[in-house]
């Protein structure tokens, strides 16, 4: 269980709970930038962007997960991450991510002055970029 120096971290995807573990700190990609959460953090609800969630000081085998979109709730001793999609970097299909990137570029070009289509294209683009960056990052 979480103590004063430990956080209880849960990663939940629409399909299942990926892990529920303790860690010393968590690094999260929020929509507006990265946040690092240490025990005793102020209560926070934030929207999640696309990027890597990194755990420090946990007993898990994989401590880095690529997540895209969702929400996070931070309480002083507990962090719950609701991610729309989460994969271990080793399980990322690099070819599929590249294809997604290309697809995103074509969406981007076809968006014209439709703000909604433009946002949607950006969404796909960021996700693909985060995936590729995560797969290519050797430190895991």
């Amino acid at each position: 269980m979480a103590t004063d120096t430990q956080l209880q971290v849960t990663l939940v995807t629409p399909e299942r709970i990926l892990f529920d573990t303790t860690a010393a700190s968590v690094d999260l990609p929020s929509r507006t930038g990265r946040i690092e959460v240490l025990p005793g953090h102020a209560p926070l609800v934030a929207e999640l962007g696309a990027g890597d969630v990194t755990l420090q000081g946990s007993t898990l085998e994989t401590t880095r997960w690529n997540v895209s979109w969702g929400f996070v709730e931070v309480l002083p001793n507990r962090v719950t991450i609701l991610a729309n999609d989460a994969v271990a970097p080793a399980a990322i299909d690099v070819d599929a991510a590249r294809q997604q990137l290309e697809h995103a570029h074509s969406l981007w070009n076809a968006a014209g002055d439709d703000a909604e289509a433009y946002d949607a294209a950006n969404h796909v683009l960021e996700e693909a970029q985060a995936r590729l960056a995560s797969a290519e990052n050797p430190a895991s």
Binding site: R31, V45, E47, D85
Partner: protein, 361 residues
Amino acid sequence: MANVLDLRRRIRSVKSTRQITRAMKMVSAAKLRRAQDRALAARPYAQRIASVLASLKRRIEVLDPETGNLRHPLFAVRPEKRILLVIISGDKGFAGAFNTNILKASHQFLALCEDKEVDIEAIGRKARDQMRRRYGVATHDVVQSENPADGSPLTHHVRRRKSRIEVVGDHPGLLEKLNHRVVRELAEEIIRRYTHAEIDACYVVYNEFKSVIQQRVVTERLLPLIEPGSHVIVGATEQTAEERQYAATVAAEAGISPFAEDTSEADEEAARFGTSDVDYIYEQPATELLNGLLPSYVAAMLFHSLAESVAAEHAARMTAMDAATNNASEMIDSLTLYMNRVRQAAITKEIIEIVSGAAAL
């Protein structure tokens, strides 16, 4: 009178049918177990999303003072003139009355929408095929225009409605490999159509599945949202007592608990998500958070319906195949009895012939 050889052949054929139905029953039982686990595993996410939504309602800036509800296009209630009906059936038959029940509920619903325009989004091959045959597929005109940014050609598809009820969309293989990503795309498409006022309401017909003995075919309203976290059921058909009892026996044989798993502890934990009695810092403005939450919520609801429907389909197939196996066994028994009689009759006839032949000497 049929001869022994013919009967033996028929028995052999029924036996091989029984083997197939028995195998199908076993496969369905295994698939049911997996589908049940998956439906259960998907719950924590859906519940947490619903609880953040509920807690956001406490924030004054997103509340609409007129309706006392959240201020968002998905909460806008309009007179229902155009309806989107999502029908979730199975891909394959051999599942007893499963598909028939779904289609019956859909037709009941359609009969109620007398003067409304209805678009049908059919998931599962069975519903798609029948609805397409009966109502026809929506047609689109291709319109060319220029991209105002760089003058490159753009193609648009403009819907041309031919009849009051039409089938839109096609989702082959969605049920076979239930994947949240695809479901989310579907949910986003439904949301897009709702916010653009292409539809005024969205209903889903599916087989709710709590456990093998707690099932019903329901018609649920997905949009507009009124009270996040609750289900708006507009029509439901319960299992009959007979069906329930039989399903329970079959499930017990296959080692599947007929009762829903106790998840109250996990439920309680999920309900606390984002609702702690503390003053949260909201990193994004509450309205923005809401814009991100609602699609996730709708997608989770849809995913939940799909996962339950898949479990229900396997349960229905398991029961149907058990019944088929039993029928085959009965048929084999009666055929064997008949065959023995025929054989005995032939022997008796031969003996009589021999005896009367001997007596004539």
